[in-house]
């Protein structure tokens, strides 16, 4: 019973942190998979996991990102709008480096690292 309770609390805490930890606006260094989604391109961190983060790029970046469709890339991005839980919008992105994903890792080697925080635009 104790173990059950502990597991439930851990699960609840993880769930709470997962959905409550809003990503700040600002500049990020991101390693992500590029995927086409209707008329947009999205950069996906932790693809296929419960912690998947989907960041949609401005359509002006379509022609650039189309060259990297389904590949894993590293780039710097700027987000100026508050994220809706695990979904966000990319305002600008920097130069792109192609990565080799690691299928052995749950997140396939993707990551999202805050470089500098800024105020969100309303």
């Amino acid at each position: 019973m104790d173990n059950m309770n502990r597991a439930s609390i851990t699960f609840l805490l993880l769930t709470f942190f997962q959905f409550s930890s809003a990503y700040a606006c600002g500049d990020y260094l991101i390693s992500a998979q590029v995927r086409a989604e209707n008329e947009y391109f999205v950069l996906i961190v932790n693809p296929g996991t419960i912690s998947e983060i989907r960041l949609r790029a401005d359509t002006d970046y379509n022609l650039k990102l189309a060259a990297y469709e389904n590949r894993f890339i590293e780039t710097k991005i700027k987000m100026i709008k508050e994220m809706d839980r695990t979904r966000g919008e990319i305002e600008s992105l920097g130069s792109i480096t192609v990565l080799v994903p690691d299928p052995k890792l749950v997140d396939q080697g993707t990551s999202m690292k805050l470089l500098s925080k800024s105020d969100c635009k309303k």
Partner: protein
């Protein structure tokens, strides 16, 4: 009662010795190695440092990548008196750097005392806008790209700025020795109290022989400058058989003394292309990228200027040296090697230009802002037919924004067709170029030979400059 007293006195003497030491050494690194590997390529340097520390009274600490059995065994057996001995991660790295900052601020490390920070990890090529460079921290998640360290967690060494500034303000003698690839970028941290030494230049990979020999050459009484010059002169790898996977000596070790900076400025940018060699492992190749870059009109012009400057530098030095120096080396050999290697590279640049590779970096502007800027390489690597097929319903959408998205791809596709009609070989340029570059395998030996001659040239250039500028600097003032 007698023995406890003796023990107490011994302990007190031991402790006072440990705390009164005026030198502090830290060794950080081991990052970017494959997860689960038994050992790291940095282990021999770690072991050499362990032997060195047994004969010094310096305080020392270690943040070295954990989880590799052989590395862990060396840490355990050879660093028994370490102040800290932890895996190489951001927390432990910061703990060491901030620990020094706190000790300087509290007066525990005083004016005139020494800190030697040695960094031995994989290092990335510096990117635009960043001073210094990134090094790997933690394990690599996939085969490591030695040029940009993608697939490995990283930290930027500009994180050492607070320590270097404090060292300058408080009169601490700080030595930073960066053994990683592309470590020449770290010379940016040098100041009036900080000596920086690197195992190679900012554009080149490094080799382990430098770090191992540097540590072996460290002896009490020598200055960092002495150790650097001795190591640069003599740390020559004999294992330059391409098939063995050993790197040759085509590196360019650097030091932040006035003499070193002067040579870096006059010699390094111009000799850089001739220390590159072709490596079929794309993650380690420098020559392929260089050939592509030098194939552009601008790159070609820069290349010719650099080669002429390089020849002038050698000629000028020969003229000065002939008058002032007794041990003038034979410079004809390096000139001949450079001339021949340039001719070889020129042939491939000419070939690359026949395919149209010089145009790959050309930028097309598709939108009203820079967001729509796309290189020819990106245009050529896009499957427009699939995108247009997937988005075909948007072509007739009532929403003008959706129609505009469809039109983007139509424009991109038209541009792709236009490029390929002009340069048809660009369609398969990667394979064509790779096949051609395979014939460049022999450049491994040529770059190595040039590097060996460059070592002799550097040595006498440095000696010649020392005659003119013999003032104290943080590298000759740092005595081990």
């Amino acid at each position: 009662m007698k023995y406890p007293n003796l023990l107490t006195i011994t302990l007190l003497i031991f402790s006072s010795n440990a705390f009164s030491s005026d030198c502090n050494i830290s060794f950080v690194g081991g990052g970017g190695e494959p997860v689960n590997a038994r050992k790291t390529i940095f282990d021999p340097s770690l072991s050499a440092l362990g032997s060195y520390l047994q004969n010094t009274k310096c305080n020392y600490s270690l943040s070295f990548n954990g989880g590799h059995q052989e590395a862990d065994a060396i840490m355990k057996s050879q660093f028994r008196n370490a102040e800290t001995k932890k895996p190489f991660d951001v927390v432990n790295y910061n703990e060491i750097i901030n620990g020094y900052i706190n000790k300087i601020n509290s007066g525990a490390i005083k004016d005139g005392e020494k800190i030697l920070l040695m960094i031995d990890s994989h290092g990335a090529k510096p990117t635009g806008g960043e001073k210094t460079h990134d090094i790997s921290i933690g394990d690599a998640t996939a085969p490591l790209n030695l040029n940009d360290l993608s697939n490995s967690p990283k930290i930027n060494l500009s994180s050492l700025n607070a320590l270097t500034n404090l060292a300058a303000a408080k009169g601490i003698k700080l030595g930073i020795v960066d053994f990683s690839c592309h470590s020449g970028a770290t010379l940016d941290l040098a100041n009036k109290n900080t000596c920086v030494i690197s195992s190679t230049g900012p554009n080149h990979l490094g080799v382990n022989v430098f770090s191992e020999e540097f540590i072996k050459n460290m002896k009490p009484g020598k200055t960092l400058e002495n150790v650097f010059l001795e190591t640069r002169r003599n740390s020559i790898s004999k294992n330059y058989d391409e098939s063995s996977g050993n790197y040759p000596n085509s590196t360019f070790p650097m030091i932040s003394t006035p003499e070193g900076l002067s040579i870096n400025r006059d010699l390094y940018p111009n000799i850089s292309p001739y220390l590159y060699y072709y490596n079929p492992n794309g993650f380690e190749d420098k020559l392929g990228d260089y050939i592509i870059h030098a194939s552009s009109d601008k790159g070609l012009c820069m290349r010719e200027n650099q080669f002429n400057k390089l020849q002038s530098t050698i000629e000028e030095f020969r003229a000065i040296g002939a008058l002032e120096m007794n041990n003038m080396p034979e410079l004809a050999r390096i000139k001949e090697l450079l001339k021949n290697y340039k001719a070889t590279q020129d042939r491939y640049i000419k070939f690359a230009r026949t395919i149209g590779i010089q145009e790959l970096s050309h930028i097309e502007h598709f939108g009203k802002t820079a967001k729509g800027d796309v290189s020819w390489r990106e245009i050529l690597e896009t499957n427009y037919e699939k995108r247009l097929d997937d988005l075909s319903p948007l072509a007739k959408s009532k929403d003008p924004t959706q129609r505009a998205v469809y039109q983007q791809y139509v424009d991109g596709f038209n541009k792709q067709k236009e490029i390929l009609s002009k340069y048809p070989k660009l369609k398969n340029y990667k394979n064509i170029f790779k096949q051609q570059m395979n014939e460049m395998k022999g450049t491994f030996k040529i770059a190595n030979d040039i590097s060996l001659e460059e070592r002799k040239l550097y040595d006498v250039m440095y000696e010649n400059l020392q005659k003119k500028k013999s003032a104290k600097n943080p590298c000759n003032d740092f005595v081990l």
